[in-house]
Assembly symmetry: C2
Homo-oligomer: 238 residues x 2
């Protein structure tokens, strides 16, 4: 990976990109939109055995310990900025810059911890159009036939061969939740968001984990399409 | 308006912004995402009396003749780049730069013709978050309690006091279509988009016009949420 990164961006290109990032930072701008709204946009509605929480995942990255060291230097660890809704998961303080195939960049992409056994970049279609990447729709961790991307950190760059996806909208469920909704891992549910921009999201993938709290994840395109912030009622059903 | 524009941006600020626009153009980048996909994303499904066509409206602007002259110089007219789906409507060759309250800019925003009796900027929530504008949801032409924005053209700038909106998703219908669907002007329908990112959009506002061709307009957030390009079936219903 390191060797490839070195080949894919020469010194001059890196300098040029760094200048652009600095310019953007100086004027406080991160070019493409999308805010971090993990948890902040969570809404609780009724519904046993656990309340229904919907969170918007802004663009983010998961990283292996090896890739973290390439980007942030030898011995680097993820440091916590804030906890996410699922226990043990957190938004880290570490930010990277993505460089797309058309040399457009997205700075300030946050790494979500803890480190994983694969590196993955999750973007919205809006981001993909901006960068020039035709994003495949994938469940987290499925990197078959997915595109790569170049990632810059403060201490180094790497070029992933694959792992860039639009995450399938999904709901994390424990056994209790699955029993209540009558579904099993991999099934699909519908999510109705009532409000001024009401939407029913179909094909919300059920993802089982014994220890999770019930939580739906949609991306920023989906969160903005339904204006989740203005939702008056939410419902998960078959 | 002209006087206000002059006050709201001093010469130094304008020069700085122009430099940024030029830099972005030099590297072929328009910072925020969203493509123009008028008509290109149209899909035809069955359904008398007219086929169902859904088009994505990327961010755009409508303009009065007076404002056009401020932005593009005295005597300026809109010139056609390409026809849109509705007869007489067109994407013009004229592009402007939007300057948001946080001094972030979106260049290359296209004006849609013909000129109108009001100036209006239609953005997605994704754009609004980027610019720092809390967009109200409005039907085109309703500018009550809407925010303004600064607009730069090649010959001048103006600051609108109002007219920046997220357009309500809507369907344009003639009498025949309204009779078929059993609705009247101002009613709401649902739009189902089947596919890998299937969505049902609720609250699709019916807008009557005697001479239109049946056409649904959604914005880029909505088009990306449902991945309209991959839709396998579409349906409009009560």
């Amino acid at each position: 990976m390191i060797g490839e990164a070195a080949r894919s961006l020469d010194r001059k290109e890196v300098e040029q990109l760094v200048r652009e990032v600095l310019q953007q930072k100086l004027r406080g701008a991160t070019p493409p939109p999308a805010r971090e709204r993990h948890a902040a946009m969570g809404r609780v509605a009724g519904g046993p055995p656990n309340p229904l929480v919907v969170n918007v995942s802004a663009r983010h990255m998961h990283v292996t310990p090896e890739h973290l060291e390439i980007l942030f230097g030898r011995g680097s660890k993820l440091t916590k900025m804030k906890d996410l809704y699922q226990e043990g998961e957190f938004a880290s303080e570490q930010l990277v810059t993505l460089v797309g195939p058309r040399q457009r960049i997205i700075p300030n992409v946050r790494i979500l911890g803890p480190v994983r056994n694969y590196t993955q970049v999750e973007l919205s279609y809006t981001d993909g159009i901006y960068l020039g990447i035709d994003l495949p729709l994938r469940i987290s961790g499925n990197h078959e036939n997915t595109p790569g991307i170049t990632i810059m950190g403060p201490k180094g760059a790497l070029t992933l061969e694959r792992g860039v996806i639009r995450a399938e909208r999904h709901v994390r469920m424990s056994t209790d939740d699955m029993n209540y909704y009558g579904v099993k891992d991999g099934d699909q549910l519908k999510l109705k968001i009532d409000g001024p921009c009401g939407v029913v999201f179909e094909r919300v993938r059920v993802r089982y984990h014994p220890k999770v709290v019930l939580e739906v994840h949609i991306d920023t395109d989906e969160g903005n399409a339904c204006d989740l912030e203005s939702a008056t009622h939410m419902e998960l059903f078959k």
